[in-house]
Amino acid sequence: MTDSGNGQAQALRVQGLSRRFGGIRAVSDVDLDVEHGDRVSVIGPNGAGKSTLFNLIAGLYKPTGGTVELFGEDITRLPSRKRAQRGLTRTFQTSKLFLDLTVADNLYLSLAAPPRSVNPLRSVLRDAERSARVRELAEQVGLAGQTETPASELSHGEQRQLEVGMALGGDPKLLLLDEPAAGFSPSERAHLVDMLTNLAPSITLLLIEHDMDIALVIGDRIVVMHEGKKLMEGTPDDIRQSTEVHEIYLGKRHEDT
């Protein structure tokens, strides 16, 4: 069993994790240790394997090699839903929302998921406790005025906010956010940073983010991925000073823009 010194297992331990898609090594032999309450940003150019790493951790893809441990338990073979039930929640890089349902109903479903025991046949309208929590969540992600809007009618940025809201609704112990700020306006970005800064300290956060201002501010520790491998890991300052990172990532991004 992995032991982090204080008698508690690590929040997340990834060892030798690999995933191939045909000839592409999307993730190749990645190790990662995350302690309780850590804030880790994962950065790297497009196609570096960041999302695939998340999908392996969350159980959407099966790895071709390696193991994933969540709170000391080997979850490599567990399906997504069992991982979710152990406190791992996530957002998707491309929003996966319930487009026919209202914002409130989307959030409600995140609150009513197992292992919580919800009477499946009692009208949602009578569930005052969760309805109140729905409003809180909507407020928290900046959708307070839109709880009755169908998700399909939200703007792109609002849909991303709802993604985050649903991940928070699942009572996360480990929260994985995949480019939550993609397509955000500056004010939406500021709101997100604010929200992430005020996240309960007990929540362990793994954040994929292209925006360096967000990634380096939110992350206490930064993991840089490149071509499926973990290129380096360090404090935000280490990353700022690394010429290697500048070359493969920052430099390239500046050329792009």
Binding site: R81, L121, V124
Partner: protein, 349 residues
């Protein structure tokens, strides 16, 4: 007052319900209008409701609902007519058998999706047909189980056309209200959720497979009740009752009525029943006619009869916006964009 305000809607519902209750007392030729049109529309509507429930809430289009209709019907026919049981326990057992068969079929069929699910469920309905032909010690083969006399329940004599109609109406309304209620429960929300994004449901911690099996079993429950009503109506159960043509009838009723609309089930069943009964006056090609109606609906009215209002208001907004470009800004995004988007979205899923 707006057309969609709750007061207007509740009044409309009350008027419709009152009209449906008065109907058997005012129509001429009760043998035709109450039985052939009324009761037939109701039980066929229940079958379409079972299909639509599954499609609306899970996105699965099933051609197998008649298998559960047949399972319940044959169980009742066998127990009552060949074993001398009384109706009450036979009906209970018939429904239980229909649900269990639904759970069994569901547990493998829902692993498939799209057209594979369609083919699998069609195969199940065909299996039921051949079982009905072959297992003659239970089903009396070709001849079927005939001469079933509808019982008297709680003082209600189901031999009487009016009584049978009112009982069928009550049950149809209850099933409809139940489906509507489920729509607003965590269970119903979860079904609609997994229809939109099963990956997200899994990522939230839901067991998508189990939910689909339960939904399928519930649809089989509705279909089994349709089987009970039909046995009172037909007074017999024969293999052709679960044959290919009847299977397609259920699909046509659902699609013509509006395959994502719960009331559409009954609207479509009524429309199909009318076409079936009246087409003989001007053509002997009843099947061709229904086929043509079906194709026209699929091509031009993808939301069925129940969706006509929405479809035409969609066109109206579109045309309105087109012909008066000056007002484009006044008609906010909801007009054209959302209207048209909704139409195309509905027609593709």
């Amino acid at each position: 007052m707006r057309l969609s305000s709750p007061a207007v809607r509740w009044t409309a519902r009350g008027v419709l319900l009152a009209a449906l209750i008065i109907y058997p007392f005012v129509v001429p030729q009760p043998g035709f209008w109450v039985v052939n049109i009324g009761i037939k529309s109701l039980w066929l509507g229940v079958m379409a409701l079972s299909l639509i429930f599954l499609y609306k809430f899970t996105g699965l289009l099933s051609l197998g609902q008649l298998a559960f209709w047949g399972a319940a019907g044959y169980t009742i026919g066998y127990l009552v007519q060949l074993q001398g049981w009384s109706f009450a326990p036979a009906i209970a057992l018939g429904i239980v058998f229909g649900i269990l068969l639904g759970a069994l079929v569901g547990s493998f069929a829902i692993r498939a999706s799209g057209v594979y699910f369609l083919m699998l469920t069609l195969a199940v309905a065909q299996l039921m047909y051949f079982a009905a032909l072959q297992a003659s010690q239970f089903t009396r083969g070709h001849q079927g189980i005939t001469g079933i006399r509808p019982p008297t329940f709680l003082g209600l004599d189901l031999v009487s056309a009016r009584t049978q109609y009112l009982v069928a109406l009550t049950i149809a309304v209850l099933l409809y209200v139940l489906c509507r209620y489920i729509e607003g429960t965590p269970f119903g929300l979860a079904l609609r959720g997994l229809r939109d994004s099963p990956e997200r449901m899994r990522a939230l911690g839901y067991n998508v497979y189990a939910y689909k099996v339960v939904a399928f079993s519930f649809a089989a429950f509705i279909a089994s009740i349709g089987g009970v009503l039909a046995i009172f109506y037909n007074r017999q159960i024969v293999p052709d009752g679960v044959g290919l043509i009847r299977t397609i009838d259920v699909l046509i009723a659902a699609v013509v009525g509006g395959v994502i609309s719960l009331p559409g089930a009954f609207i479509g069943a009524f429309a199909l029943t009318m076409v079936q009964n009246f087409s003989q006056f001007f053509t002997s090609r009843y099947l061709t006619l229904t086929g043509v109606v079906f194709v026209v609906v699929v091509l031009f009215f993808p939301q069925g009869i129940a969706g006509l209002w929405r479809q035409f208001t969609g066109y109206y907004l579109w045309a309105h916006d087109r012909w008066r470009p000056a007002t484009r800004d006044a008609v906010e995004g909801k007009g054209v964009g959302a209207g048209a988007a909704q139409l195309s979205e509905r027609s593709t899923d």
